[in-house]
C-alpha cells in the first residue's frame, strides 16, 4: 500500500478505535457512567492513541531507513567489479539503477546489468512496502486490542490521555531545538570536510575566490582558490549601502510617526510602509535587476561614469528599501517605550518638540535603536534573492559601489544550484560559507536582542 493510503487507513482505524473504546467503557459498567473513573470519551481517545501512535512511529522509522537499506541491498547484489568502484562512481550507478527502476528513460542503451539491478531494486521495494503495510496494520490493531482489554471501571484513562498529550506538546516544542541542532550539525559537518581540503586560514583570509576546480589537470583558469575575503567585502559593501539608505529613512519615519503624526496619518502610513516588509524578496530582486540597475547605469553614463550593469549600488539601494520597515517599526516601538515623563520634563523646561526628541528621547532610546539597526544589518547580510538577481558573480575586491561585486549568499546559491558532487570542495565550500553566515547573523541577533532587552528593563 502506498504511504498516503496507509496513513489514511491508520487514521480511519484510530477513528474506529475511538468508538470501540467509548462503547467498551460504557458496557464495562453496564451503563452506570458514574462508576467510571473518566468520561467515556477519554476511553475512546485512549484506544485511538494506542492504535495510532506506535504504528505511526514505526512507520516513520521504517520509512527513514528504507532508502539506505534498499541502496545497501542493491549494491550487495551487484557484481564485484562495480561494488569495488569508488563511492562517487558507485552512487552514479545507483542513481542510474533508481532511474531505470522508476521507469525513466536515462539513455537509449542501458546496461543489462543495470536493468537487472533495477528489477531487483523494484522487487525489494515491493517487499519492503508490503512488509511495512503488514507490520503497521498489525501494530495498530494490536495496540487497539491491548487498550480495549485494559479498559475497566477503575482505569484512569483521562490521566493517561493527558499525560500523552503533554508528552506530545513537549515533543512539539523540542522541534525548535532539533532544528537548531540540525542546522549546526549539517553546516558544521560539511564545513569540516571542506576544511580538510582547504586550510581554514586560507579560506578566511585568502584574497582570491574562484571555486571552479579543474576537471583535467591542464585546464586553464580553474585553479580552485577559496579565499573568501572578496565575498565578505562584497557582502559588507552591499549591506552598508543598504543601511545608508534604510537607517536615515527608517529612523526619520519612526520619529515622525511616533512624535509628530496625528493618529489618522499614523494609522494609514504605518501599515503602508509595512507593505514593504511583506513583499517577497524575489520581487525586489526583479525590481533591482530590471528597473533600478538600468536606471543607475544610464544615469551614470550621462555623467560619464563607467557603471557595471550588475552594480553593487543597485542591489544595495533596493535592499535598503526592503529593510526600511525593519528599522522603522522596531525604532518606533523603542521610541514609544520612552516614558512620557521624560518628554513632559523637557517641555516644562521650554524645549521645543524637535529639541526634546534630539536631546532627550533619542539619547534615551539609543540602545534600542542600535539594536534595531543591528537586526536590520543581519537581515541585509543574510538576504539572498536581491543579490542573486541583481549583483554579480565575479569576486572583485573593491569598494567602488558602481562595480559588480559578489556576496556570500550569491556564492552559496551558485555553488549549490544545479548538479552537485558531495566530495568536491566546490560544493562543500557553500556549507563553509553557510557556517560563516549563520555564525555572523546569530552573533548580531544575540547582541541586538541583548541590547534591546537591557534597554527595556531600564524603563520598566
Amino acid at each position: 500500500m502506498q504511504t498516503p493510503y496507509l496513513l489514511f487507513t491508520l487514521l480511519i482505524l484510530s477513528v474506529l478505535a475511538y468508538f470501540i473504546g467509548k462503547r467498551r467503557s460504557v458496557t464495562v459498567v453496564e451503563g452506570a457512567l458514574r462508576e467510571l473513573h473518566s468520561l467515556p470519551a477519554y476511553y475512546g481517545y485512549y484506544t485511538a492513541l494506542w492504535g495510532l501512535i506506535p504504528a505511526l512511529f514505526l512507520m516513520l522509522v521504517w520509512l527513514s531507513f528504507e532508502p539506505t537499506w534498499l541502496a545497501h541491498q542493491t549494491v550487495a547484489s551487484l557484481p564485484e567489479e562495480i561494488k569495488s568502484l569508488p563511492s562517487s562512481k558507485l552512487n552514479l550507478q545507483l542513481n542510474n539503477i533508481k532511474n531505470v527502476a522508476a521507469g525513466l528513460q536515462v539513455s537509449q542503451r542501458v546496461d543489462p546489468l543495470i536493468v537487472e539491478a533495477a528489477e531487483h531494486y523494484n522487487r525489494l521495494r515491493k517487499i519492503s512496502n508490503f512488509a511495512l503495510t503488514l507490520v503497521v496494520l498489525i501494530c495498530s490493531l494490536t495496540g487497539i486490542w491491548l487498550a480495549h482489554k485494559k479498559i475497566s471501571k477503575d482505569y484512569r484513562a483521562r490521566n493517561v490521555v493527558e499525560k500523552i498529550m503533554t508528552g506530545l506538546m513537549i515533543l512539539a516544542s523540542m522541534i525548535a531545538i532539533f532544528t537548531t541542532v540540525g542546522i549546526v550539525a549539517s553546516v558544521v559537518f560539511e564545513s569540516l570536510l571542506f576544511f580538510r581540503q582547504v586550510p581554514f586560514f586560507d579560506f578566511l583570509f585568502g584574497l582570491e575566490w574562484s571555486p571552479q576546480t579543474a576537471l583535467r589537470a591542464d585546464q586553464v583558469g580553474s585553479s580552485g582558490a577559496f579565499g573568501a575575503v572578496p565575498l565578505f567585502a562584497g557582502t559588507l559593501l552591499i549591506s552598508s549601502i543598504a543601511l545608508i539608505v534604510a537607517v536615515p529613512i527608517g529612523l526619520m519615519s519612526a520619529i515622525y510617526l511616533s512624535e509628530f503624526a496625528g493618529s489618522k496619518f499614523r494609522n494609514t502610513a504605518k501599515p503602508t510602509l509595512e507593505i514593504l516588509a511583506g513583499i517577497p524578496t524575489v520581487v525586489y530582486g526583479f525590481f533591482a535587476a530590471l528597473t533600478v540597475a538600468p536606471f543607475i547605469r544610464e544615469t551614470g553614463e550621462q555623467w560619464g561614469w563607467v557603471v557595471s550593469s550588475e552594480s553593487a549600488l543597485a542591489a544595495g539601494l533596493v535592499m535598503g528599501i526592503m529593510i526600511i520597515p525593519f528599522v522603522s517599526s522596531l525604532s518606533d516601538d523603542v521610541i514609544n517605550a520612552v516614558p512620557q515623563s521624560l518628554r513632559d520634563a523637557a517641555y516644562a523646561l521650554g524645549a521645543t518638540q524637535a529639541e526634546t526628541i534630539k536631546q532627550v528621547i533619542l539619547p534615551a532610546a539609543l540602545p534600542g535603536i542600535v539594536g534595531s539597526i543591528l537586526l536590520a544589518a543581519s537581515r541585509a547580510i543574510g538576504e539572498t534573492m536581491i543579490v542573486v538577481m541583481a549583483a554579480g558573480l565575479a569576486a572583485n575586491l573593491t569598494a567602488n559601489p558602481l562595480e559588480a561585486v559578489t556576496t556570500v549568499t550569491v556564492q552559496i546559491v551558485t555553488l549549490l544550484v544545479g548538479d552537485q558532487e558531495f566530495d568536491s570542495p566546490k560544493t562543500l565550500a557553500a556549507f563553509a560559507l553557510g557556517l560563516m553566515l549563520f555564525v555572523v547573523t546569530l552573533a548580531l541577533n544575540v547582541i541586538a536582542l541583548h541590547i534591546v532587552r537591557k534597554y527595556r528593563e531600564q524603563y520598566e
Binding site: A71, E162, L168, M169, A172, S173, I175, A176, I177, T179, T180, G182, I183, S186, V187, F189, I249, G250, M252, S253, Y256, E259, F260, L273, G278, I279, P280, V282, V283, Y284, G285, F286, F287, L290, T291, I324, G350, T352, Q353, A354, I357, K358, L375, S378, G382, T384, M385, V388, M389, T409, I412, V413, L416, V417, F422, G434, L437, F438, T441, L442
Partner: protein, 431 residues
C-alpha cells in the same frame, strides 16, 4: 555692539533665539516627513513599475487562420483513435493555411519566416481542438492560434517600428505581414488563458503559471498541515504548561534565534538533512514544505503565545474552579478563545512561506518543469522560483510574464493578509 549683546537679559536672549529654534523645529519635522514620504514613494514606484510592465501579459496576440482539417494528414486510416489523432502532423496544416493566406510569399527563407509567425505551441491547440470534437476532421474552420512572442511584442508596442530594420527583431516584410493581417482583422489581442492554464515553457507565448501555482499549493499544504499543529502545540505548552527552568529558557532562546536565521541557511539544512541524509526526493513539494515548516514555526509560535496571553486568567480560574483538569481548561476554554489569534499568525506565516524563494533553490525546486505536478512527491517548482527563473530568461516577452506572475503572487499575498486582518478585526475581544 559687542557690549550691548553681552548685556542682554536672559529673556531677550531666549526671544532672539526663538526664530532660529522654530526654523530648526520646522526643518526637523520636514526631515521626518521626507523619510515617510520617501518610504511611501518607494512602495508606489515598486507597484507602478511592476504593474506597468506586467499588465499587458494578460492579453496575448492571436492570429486567425482558416485551417483545413485534412483527413489525409490527421487520420489517414479513419480509425478516429485518439492516439493516432494526437500524433498527427498539425504543423503541416498550419503551414498550408499560411501559404494560402500569403500566396505572394516565395523563397525558402521567407517561407520559414512566415511559418515562424505562429507559435510552436499552436499545433497543440489544433490537436486539442480535434480531440475535443473529431467530427471537425475533413472540414475547414477559422481558428485563433497563438502568435509567436516577437509578433506579440510588436502588437503590444514593445518592438519599436521606427528603429532601423537591422536593429529590430522583426524585419520590414514581417511587419508588413502583421499590418496585412491587422487590416483583415485577423490578428488580435485576446485574453490570455494560456498564462493560467499551462505549465512552464521555453517559448514565452506558451509559458504559464499553472504548474508553479500547483507546486506552491502542494508546498503550502504540507507546510500548513505540519506547522499549524506543531506551532499551536508548542505555543500552548510554553504558555500554559512549561515550568520556568533552564530547559524552557533554552527552547525560547532557540525559537527567537530561529526567527532571525537567514532563510538560505534553512535551505542548507534541507539539502544536507532531508535530501542527503534521509534520501527524500529532490525538487519535491514534500521537502519544500518541510523546510518552510521549520522556517514559519517561529512566526506561528510567537503569534500563538501572544494570542494565549491575551486570554484573561479569570477564564482559566473559573474552569479550574468547576473541577476541570488543567488540560481540559486549556483545550475546552482557553484554546477556543485564542484560536482566531493563532489562525491570524498562521495565515501570516503561510504568506511568508508563499513568498519564500532562497531555501527552495537549495533543495532543487528550481528545475525546468513543464508538467503540472500531481502530488507532493512530484518534481515541482513554486511561484516565486518561477518568477526567478523567468526573470533570468533573455526574451523580452518573459519580462511581462514575470511581472504578471509577480502580480498574481502579490494578489495572493494581499488577500491572505486581508483575511488575517479581517479575522483579527472580527474576533478581536477586549476583556
Amino acid at each position: 555692539m559687542n557690549n550691548r549683546t553681552d548685556s542682554l537679559s536672559t529673556m531677550e536672549k531666549v526671544r532672539k533665539g526663538i526664530a532660529k529654534r522654530r526654523s530648526a523645529e520646522r526643518l526637523f519635522r520636514f526631515y521626518g516627513l521626507t523619510g515617510i514620504v520617501l518610504g511611501l514613494v518607494f512602495v508606489l514606484i515598486l507597484f507602478i513599475s511592476i504593474i506597468g510592465k506586467g499588465y499587458s501579459a494578460f492579453q496575448q496576440t492571436q492570429i486567425a487562420l482558416d485551417i483545413e482539417f485534412l483527413e489525409s494528414v490527421i487520420d489517414p486510416d479513419q480509425t478516429r483513435d485518439s492516439k493516432v489523432i494526437s500524433r498527427a502532423d498539425y504543423n503541416s496544416l498550419i503551414r498550408k493555411s499560411l501559404s494560402k493566406a500569403f500566396p505572394e510569399v516565395k523563397g525558402r527563407r521567407q517561407i520559414r519566416d512566415l511559418n515562424r509567425m505562429i507559435s510552436t505551441g499552436a499545433m497543440f491547440q489544433l490537436r486539442d481542438r480535434v480531440l475535443e470534437d473529431p467530427s471537425v476532421i475533413g472540414q475547414s474552420e477559422r481558428v485563433w492560434l497563438l502568435a509567436s512572442d516577437d509578433y506579440d511584442m510588436l502588437m503590444k508596442g514593445h518592438i519599436d517600428r521606427n528603429v532601423s530594420e537591422s536593429e529590430r527583431r522583426l524585419k520590414d516584410h514581417q511587419v508588413a505581414w502583421v499590418d496585412q493581417l491587422f487590416e483583415q482583422g485577423r490578428i488580435k489581442k485576446r485574453f490570455n488563458t494560456f498564462f493560467f492554464t499551462s505549465g512552464d515553457s521555453r517559448a514565452p507565448e506558451m509559458a504559464g503559471i499553472r504548474g508553479a501555482l500547483m507546486g506552491s499549493m502542494y508546498t503550502l499544504f504540507v507546510t500548513l498541515v505540519l506547522s499549524f499543529p506543531i506551532g499551536a502545540a508548542t505555543a500552548v505548552y510554553l504558555e500554559e504548561f512549561a515550568p520556568t527552568n533552564k530547559w524552557t529558557d533554552l527552547i525560547e532562546v532557540n525559537i527567537n534565534n530561529l526567527a532571525a536565521v537567514p532563510s538560505i541557511v534553512f535551505g542548507l539544512l534541507g539539502l544536507a538533512m532531508f535530501i542527503n541524509f534521509f534520501g527524500l526526493p529532490r525538487s519535491a513539494p514534500l521537502v519544500g514544505g518541510l523546510v518552510l515548516t521549520l522556517m514559519t514555526l517561529p512566526t506561528i509560535i510567537i503569534a500563538g503565545r501572544a494570542a494565549l496571553k491575551s486570554v484573561p486568567p479569570s477564564i482559566r480560574e473559573a474552569a479550574l474552579g468547576m473541577g476541570a483538569s488543567k488540560l481540559q481548561t486549556v483545550f475546552h476554554h482557553v484554546l477556543p478563545l485564542a484560536l482566531p489569534g493563532m489562525l491570524t499568525g498562521t495565515i501570516i506565516g503561510m504568506a511568508q512561506a508563499l513568498g519564500e524563494t532562497a531555501p527552495l533553490l537549495m533543495i532543487g525546486m528550481v528545475a525546468f518543469i513543464v508538467d503540472i505536478p500531481k502530488g507532493i512527491f512530484d518534481s515541482a517548482t513554486v511561484l516565486p522560483v518561477q518568477i526567478y527563473l523567468w526573470a533570468d530568461s533573455p526574451e523580452r516577452a518573459f519580462v511581462e510574464r514575470t511581472s504578471a506572475a509577480i502580480m498574481v503572487l502579490l494578489a495572493f499575498l494581499i488577500s491572505m493578509n486581508a483575511v488575517a486582518v479581517f479575522l483579527r478585526k472580527r474576533f478581536e475581544r477586549r476583556w
